[in-house]
Each structure stands twice: as C-alpha cells, then as structure tokens.
C-alpha cells in the first residue's frame, strides 16, 4: 500500500519547534485522506465506546415523576451508571486532556515544553485517580428496572429528556409479533432484533466490548511480548533457547479450549477474555522484538554504548527498546485488528461475553446462524462495523509502517 503514503515529505516550517520522530511519523502517516478517514473512524468508535452509556440508554437523563408528594425531578440515567462507567469516563477525559495539552504546548520552547507536558500529565492523572477513587467510594449505583416509557404513557411521569438513542442494549419492546425483527424505521433507526431490541443501541454498546477487548488484550500481550522478546534478543544464548521453546509451547495451546476452561472455572467476564487473549497473544511480539534486538545488537551504536561502560538495563531501555519498538508498535496495530476478530469469532461460537451484553460476533450469530432464520438487516450492521474497524486498524497499521520506514521518512 505504498500509494497511501507515496507523497513527498513536506518540510516542517522553520518557525515551529522541531518535531519529534513520532510526531513526524504520525503526521506523515495521516497525510493520505483515506488514512485520515479511517483514523477518524477509529477515534469515533473509541469515543463512542467510552461514552456509550450516555448515548444509548432507555433511561432518561432527567424526568419528572409523580410520587406521593407531588412531582419530583429524577436523573435515572446518571443514577443507573455504574462506578466502572464513571471510571471509564474519567480515564477517557484524562487521556483526551493529555492529548489536547500535548497539542497546545507545541508552541512552547523545547526545554520547557517537556517539563510542562509532564506536569500537565501528572496533574491530570493525579486528578483522575483522586476523582476515580472518590467516586468508587461515594458512588452507589441504583438498580433501576423501571419502564419509564410505560410510566410516561400512564401519566405518572412527564418532561423526560432521553438520550439521543433512547434504547438500552437489553431493552425489549413489549413482546408482540410486530416488535421483533422490525425493519429500520424512525423509531428504531436500524430496526429491532429477534427479541425486539434496538439494533443501533446494541451496535454502539458492542463497540465497547470490541474496543475494550482489543486494546486491553493487546496492551497485555504487548507488555509480555516486549519483556520476553527483549530478554531473548538481548541476552541470547540460553535465554534465547528457553524463550523460543516457551514461545513455541504457548503457540501450541488451543486458545479456544483455554477460554472455555477459564470461563468454566471463573465464570464469564470480559476481563477474562481480555487476559486470555493477552496471555496467549504475546508470542508474535516476542518473536518480532527478538529478531529486532538481534539485529540492533550488532549495530555500531550499541557496541559503542557498551564500550562506554553503560549499564545493561540502560542500553536496553534507552537505546535498544525505542528502536526495536517502532516496528512492534506497527504490528500492534495489526494485532488490534486480530484481537477484535478473535473476540468476534468467540462470541460467534457462543463463548463471549455474558448476555444480554451485546457483541458484534454474538449479534452476527443471532442473525446469521444457519440454525435460525436469516435476517439480513440484523446481520448487516454488526458485520459491517466489524469489517470497518478491522479494515481501519489494518489501514492505519499499513500507513504507520510506511511512515516509520526510514527509507520514506525524510
């Protein structure tokens, strides 16, 4: 896909402070419009997955309810959010804050910029941890199964402000033949599934599972892979021999069986699947980093660093890792695509998340399993979303690979 980035490097304007290697690479990567679109898509899905409790919910933001002592305003949606939801918001806000601060501080002069950025990041993270722990202690989410729509219909409630998509992921329309397998309409933008639930709401909620599993499992896999791969690549010898055997062994474990086993022991949870995908998925990174390290180890500057008597860990982390890591990060982008695919396959086979939590693979299975009747309008959205997110990760990965290619980075 060289054509995606086969554009001349534009020299950075001399007025701006010199950009770092990564900034350059990312800027170069984002140049083609196609990559821009798909990067934006990933960002959008990420954002949706972070904020979906506010976007799609059957509970209104605010509503006036008639109680024994007159009308009372309630905020069911916020009361219903779990601590984990709030923590996700805080984490998202911190990350977005750091990114924005990073961009805003670009104009600051080089030496001060670094400490400023670190300071801002520290403050934001500290505030996030503080806020998060306070929330974890103070917030108590209320179990709320009230059907607010019925309440409004019966005149017991009024002035409801609903979320943009006023359906929860598990919320069924009152059971009737007309409510299920509904085609897209004004009421349900993507129709309803065979239990009478809003497909769009489920789609959005499912993005949470996909992105969560993708990012967390790859983070685990990446850190494990980096540690083992770096050890193998740097020390070589017996470390390398044993490490490679370990890699081969882990590759031989049937993931599918492992997940079934763990689900049977510990019960179903997203976390479990994340951990298993992480624990079995690190081998690729380890192999990659090992090869990189074996290559880099021969290079002159490492020999030079060793000649100056620099301690080992410093050579590894300051000199070798940053150089070996770049290609690994590229493969992490493909790894994300792979993790999302595996998660959806597991859900398709029926060993994914706990129902009624939606996931794209599970929705596909419900719609397209040959043992049931095929409803294309139910199978299309999750498949398309899955396809697009995998495509996006792959395209961004390709573009990133081209961008960090030393031959093309001028």
């Amino acid at each position: 896909m060289t054509e995606l980035s086969a554009h001349p490097a534009i020299e950075t304007p001399s007025t701006a402070p010199p950009a770092s290697y990564w900034t350059l690479a990312i800027r170069k990567m984002l140049r083609p419009w196609l990559v821009k679109i798909f990067a934006a898509y990933i960002a959008a899905v990420l954002l949706i997955s972070l904020t979906v409790p506010l976007l799609a919910s059957g509970k209104p933001y605010a509503i006036d309810i008639h109680t024994g002592n007159g009308w009372v305003t309630r905020y069911p949606l916020f009361a219903d959010l779990t601590t984990r939801d709030y923590l996700t918001f805080i984490a998202g806000a911190v990350i977005i804050g750091i990114v924005v601060a990073w961009r805003l501080t670009r104009v600051v002069e080089m030496m001060r910029r670094r400490s400023l950025r670190l300071g801002i990041a520290g403050v934001l993270i500290g505030a996030g941890i503080l806020g998060g722990s306070a929330l974890a202690i103070l917030h108590h989410n209320r179990f709320d199964g009230t059907d607010y729509r019925a309440l409004i219909k019966s005149g017991m409630a009024k002035n409801a402000i609903f979320a943009p998509i006023p359906w929860g992921y598990a919320e069924m329309e009152p059971l009737s033949k007309n409510a299920i397998n509904e085609l897209p309409s004004w009421h349900h933008w993507l129709g309803t599934d065979r239990s009478g639930r809003d497909v769009l709401a489920r789609m959005l909620w499912a993005s949470r599972v996909a992105m969560g599993i993708g990012f967390v499992s790859q983070a685990i896999a990446l850190s494990l892979g980096i540690i083992v791969g770096a050890m193998m690549g740097y020390f070589g010898g017996i470390f390398d021999l044993l490490g490679m055997r370990l890699v081969e062994m882990v590759e031989a474990i049937p993931t599918f069986f492992l997940i079934l086993t763990f689900i049977a022991i510990f019960g179903r949870s997203i976390l479990m699947i994340m951990v298993i995908l992480g624990v079995t998925g690190w081998t690729g990174y380890a192999r990659f980093l090992r090869a990189e390290f074996l290559r880099i180890r021969q290079l002159d500057y490492i020999v030079a660093a060793r000649a100056t008597g620099m301690p080992l860990w410093r050579i590894m982390f300051r000199h070798m890792l940053p150089n070996g890591l770049t290609p690994v990060l590229v493969s992490a982008s493909f790894g994300l695509a792979g993790a999302v695919t595996i998660e959806s396959s597991l859900s398709y086979l029926g060993i994914g998340v706990r129902p009624p939590t939606p996931s794209w693979g599970g929705m596909l299975n419900a719609a397209g399993n040959p043992a049931t009747v095929f409803h294309w309008f139910e199978a299309l959205p999750p498949g398309l979303a899955l396809f697009l997110i995998v495509l996006a990760f792959n395209i961004v990965g390709e573009a990133l690979r081209d961008a960090i290619d030393p031959k093309s980075l001028s």
């Binding site: 059907d147 598990a170 059971l175 009737s176 033949k177 179903r268 060993i351 706990r354 009624p356 009747v373």
Partner: protein, 620 residues
C-alpha cells in the same frame, strides 16, 4: 523493461492452470475413491455380519431340522381367530392376538396402495453407533425402531399394549408376574426363529455389567428375574408393583442370541454397526458422514414392509434440511417455527408438501428450576409472583410464533397424565408486586427488593448452546428488573452446567425434560431424589406430592392412576418449584407423493403407515 504479456507468458499460465486442474482432479479422485472404498467397506462389514449370523443360523437350523420358510403376507389372509382381551378367573389379565395388530390408520386398504419406493428422511446428527442398548442418541433410536422389535407394541390410538412378537401375555393380579408367549412365526432377519431363549438372552445381555448400557439398564432394576418356562414362554417377575412394568418388559428390544452371543460379552461394546433383529428392515449400509440405509427384510415374518428402503440422511442444520426437502432429496422433515411461519400458508409449498402441526407426547417441556434451598425461592408466594411477572402467552407468540403451548405442570399436554383443569398462572405484575410484599420483600435504597439482609439478586444458569433459551432468559431478566429483582444470566457449556446441577451449585437453571406418553415423576419430584445426584435438583420437598407419587407408582389401574397424577400436577403447579415454560408443537412437512401420513393424536406421525402410490414412485 517491457512488461507486455507475451505468448510465452500465456502458455505458462495455461500450463499452470492445467497443472492446477489436474491436481484438483487428483484430489477429487482421491476423495472419491476413499469415499467409495469407505462405502464398500461399510457394505462389506454389514454383509459379513449378516452372513456370519445367517451361516450360524443355517447350521443350527440344519441341526434342528427346521426348514427355513419365507413368510407369506398375512394382511391378505383371512383372520382365523379373533383377538382376545379378558380377565382370567384368578384376576390376571390375558391378552392374545392371533395375528400381529394392523396399524389403526390401515394403509393396506387405502386406494392406490402400493408396495415399493424408498422413504428418505433426515437425521439431525449422525449416531456414533447403532448397537442395541448401548448409549444412543435420538437418531440411533429411530433407526433401531425399524430393525429391532419387542414383545409388545403400543397401539397409537388406544395407547394400550398389544402383543407383537409375543402372541399373548398374561399379567398376574398383583402385577408382579408377566408371562409372554412368543409367536412361533416370528423370525429374525437371519431366518432364526425368535424364541424364549432369545428374550432371556436379550434381558441378560442388557443386565450384563460388562455391556455399556447403564442408562437403559436402570429402567430394568425393578425386575427380579426373567426366565424361560418353555421354548416359547417367558416370565418376567417384578420386585414390587410398578405401573410401568408391562411397558418395560414388553418394550425390551429382542436381539438374536445367534448373532450377539459372544464368548465374552465385553466384545459387545467393541462393535458399532452390528444391528440384527426381527424387524421389517435390515441395515444395508452406513456411509460415514452421509446416510444410513435400511433395506426391506426379505424374509420378514410379519406383514410385508411397504417401502423397499428407508434412507436416513445426516443433515445437521435446519436450513440445510429445508433445502434438501425443497429439492426433493428428503421426503419428510421437521420445520423450525420460523420456517413454518414462512411456508405453512405458501401455495407453492403446499402444492408439494403436506404439513402437520400437532403436539406429540414425545416433545418435552422447558422450565426454569429454582433452587429451593436458596433464600430467595423458599417461599411459595415469591415463586408464584415470579411466574406472574413473566408474560408467557406473549413470549410464546413472539419467540415461538405461537407454535407452543404453555405448560401447567410436569406432564405433556396431550398425555392422559395431564390435568386439563389446572389453569395457568396469569401475567399480572401488579398482583406479583403484592405477593412479593406479602412475602416480605421490600425495595431498599438501591432499588432492589430486599428481605432482611437478603437482596433479591441471583444468577440464572442456561446452556450456552441454546439460543432460544438465551432470548427467554433475557426477556425474563428485563421483566424481573422492573420488579426490582436482579437476575444475572450465566451461560455455561452443557458439561459444566450438568456438573453444577449435580453439585447443586446454582440459584436457578433453565433446562428441558423430554416427554413420553406416561412419565414416572419419581425421579424428578420425589423428595428423596435430591440426594445421590437424583434429578430433583431444586430439592422439591412436598409431603403431599411425595404421597401421591408413591401411590401413583403402585396403582395399576389406569383411570385411578391418572386421577392421582392429576392431583399431583395440581399440587406441583401450585407449589411452583419450577417456572414451567412451554411445550413446542411438532411441525412436519411431508412430500405429497407419500400418502396416509396423518398423525395420531398423541404419538404423532408414524412412518410405518406411509406408502407411495405406484404412479408417484421415484426409486426402484
């Protein structure tokens, strides 16, 4: 460099393609050959088995000087004697049928009746083995039904047991002793006559601990002995009076000693495809992954079988079997509710297929079993309230497209056990709230129901490979949530789920029991069945129910027994130890070329009655 596509490149490409095609063909022929070889080998194996058995039979026949005879059709021979059902002076019941009974919907007298043609049906899974008695799947059972026969047969209309391989039977007054007289005409497919020795042998084989048939053996634990009194008479003695005694003894599949009489009975387990009986069909071939073919037993002792062959094809998913049905590759198929909905009133479909929708006694029912030892479910009012929160009629209408019937107890709705006067608990959330309040449940600050320190929060375990169950659970979860009950859904793979049930590690579990014409409620509902991994997993312990169960099992009089079962059902439904869900309709489509297909009211369709008029016959 000039990159034009030259003639040489083209030739290269052609060679490439030719090689590829040749490779494909090689692979194809490899596959084809292995396939054919496998088929031949399977034929050979079955043939060998048949031949050895026949050789053996011939030898013994020569020794005993009996001449093998081909049967003559009896349906056309005029009846010499008439059937007898009478009570003897000593109070025992005597039943004698001089000829095997004809099916109630008699095909032989129908217009256009003709022998011949094949009947092709689908099986949803390939059986692992089709040995008699050995643990079997439903698919193996339907094949065995055409090859193996038993002493008695249940009349599908009257539901009474009629003599089949037995010419007559006598049940002693206390019900402990059943005497069968075997028909002298009856022959196994190898020509060997069916004797009392074979019946005893069959019983002994099944009771032999070396033979892997524990599940079936368990039914026969109530039998004290099985003895041959003479060459044609055999007596079963029971330990205690049991209403199912006649069905158990008369339902034993009779296998020929001449074939299965191994020196070491452990050899029995090693075979997979040795299936020889006295039935109208014999196993012709079994092609792995494809089909099992039965062919007409040429020396069948009874009425001549109608079809020349019965073919059972393994088609694993409903969509594929519908495809095959539409393409005419199979003659009859069960439909999914959604398929039924789509096709049952489509003219083009109805022009080719006859459709039936009926409740069969064999269909089971689904339920949610509450673990009554857990704090949430100990109170009857709570359980009733939970049932009131679920709108079952709407669920049946929506999820099952109306093709199911709500259960009002553990018995099949069409079975005589079922008490038609038990009314289903209505969907009434308001009433449910009141009941919950009465039971002491109050809303706490968290929005959950609470009694004392117990919050109403439990897990429902469902089998993960059961999509409908998931939908039902999701619906129920929502309904409970509205009442302030938090139910978590835990899908587990079936094996783990069974383990959890065995160890009683569950709050509530969704499962199904399969049905039969008359169930013995002991295993599921008797309080003693909680221990020892019995099936009373929820620990239902009701003195009245226990009394009724024990009494019912003893009662041999059908009407009295049914009365007891009706009472039992009312009591169980009142107690609501299960949230009873529904029994689905059987939805069948049969190719129009097959005639006489109407189902019996309780037992459903009976392929033994079917025939194809000469003009419509397809296979010869």
């Amino acid at each position: 460099m000039g990159n034009r596509f030259t003639v040489k490149d083209f030739i290269f490409l052609c060679i490439f393609i030719v090689i590829a095609v040749m490779l494909g063909f090689t692979l194809g022929s490899f596959n084809y050959l292995t396939h054919q070889v496998a088929g031949l080998r399977s034929d050979l194996q079955t043939m060998q088995a048949q031949q050895t058995s026949e050789l053996y039979a011939l030898k013994t026949l020569q020794r005993s000087g009996v001449r093998t005879t081909n049967h003559t059709g009896i349906n056309d021979s005029s009846k010499v004697a008439s059937d007898i059902r009478e009570t003897l002076p000593d109070g025992s019941r005597y039943v004698m049928f001089p000829n095997p009974p004809l099916p109630p919907y008699n095909p032989y007298t129908k217009p256009n009746f003709a022998y011949g043609d094949w009947l092709v049906e689908s099986l949803s899974s390939e059986p692992n083995r089709i040995m008699p008695y050995v643990p079997q799947s439903e698919s193996a059972a339907s094949i065995q039904a055409s090859v193996l026969e038993s002493l008695l047969v249940r009349n599908p209309l009257t539901l009474k047991y009629d003599p089949w391989l037995a010419r007559s039977y006598t049940v002693s007054k206390d019900g402990l002793k059943i005497t069968f007289v075997v028909r002298r005409r009856a022959r196994f497919s190898n020509g060997q006559p069916v004797t009392a020795q074979d019946v005893v042998f069959s019983y002994d084989t099944m009771m032999n601990p070396e033979v892997n048939c524990a599940p079936i053996r368990s039914y026969y634990t109530d039998i004290k002995s099985c003895r041959a009194r003479s060459a044609w008479t055999v007596v079963f003695t029971f330990k205690r009076p049991y209403f199912k005694a006649l069905g158990i003894a008369g339902g034993l599949a009779i296998i020929p000693k001449s074939v299965y009489g191994f020196q070491h009975m452990s050899e029995f387990n090693k075979h997979g495809k040795l299936l020889v009986g006295s039935g109208p069909y014999v196993l012709k071939r079994w092609t792995a992954g494809q089909a099992i073919v039965l062919s007409r037993n040429p020396r069948y002792w009874g009425p001549r079988p109608i079809f020349d062959r019965l073919v059972y094809r393994f088609i694993t998913n409903p969509q594929a079997s519908l495809q095959s049905l539409l393409a005419g590759q199979i003659d009859a198929d069960g439909l999914e509710p959604s398929q039924w909905l789509k096709y049952h009133n489509k003219k083009s479909f109805l022009a080719k297929f006859t459709t039936y929708k009926y409740l069969s006694a064999a269909s089971g029912y689904n339920f949610i079993c509450w673990n009554l030892r857990k704090p949430w479910f100990q109170d009857r009012r709570t359980r009733v309230a939970l049932a009131m929160l679920v709108n079952e009629p709407a669920m049946i209408k929506t999820f099952m497209h109306g093709l199911a019937v709500q259960n009002t107890g553990p018995f099949n709705p069409v079975s005589p056990q079922n008490n038609p006067h038990v009314k289903p608990i209505p969907y009434d959330p308001a009433m449910a709230q009141q009941l919950l309040k009465k039971a002491g449940w109050k809303r706490d600050a968290d929005g959950l129901l609470e009694r004392g320190k117990t919050q109403f929060r439990f897990g429902l375990t469902i089998p993960s490979q059961f999509p409908l169950g998931k939908r039902i659970a999701e619906y129920i979860k929502q309904q409970f949530a509205m009442a302030g009950i938090d139910m978590q859904i835990n899908p587990l793979d079936f094996t783990t789920l069974l383990q959890k049930i065995n160890h009683r590690h569950f709050d509530a579990v969704m499962l199904g029991w399969s049905g039969s014409i008359e169930n013995d409620p002991y295993q599921i509902w008797y309080s003693g069945s909680y221990k020892n991994d019995g099936s009373n997993a929820g620990d239902f312990d009701d003195p009245l129910a226990d009394r009724l169960i024990l009494e019912g099992r003893r009662t041999l009089n059908v009407r009295k027994r049914m009365h007891i079962w009706h009472q039992l059902q009312a009591e169980i439904y009142r107690q609501q130890p299960y949230l009873f869900l529904f029994t689905s309709y059987s939805l069948i489509a049969i190719n129009k070329r097959i005639k006489n297909t109407q189902p019996y009211p309780v037992t459903g369709i009976s392929p033994g009655d079917w025939f194809v008029p000469l003009a419509l016959q397809k296979y010869r």
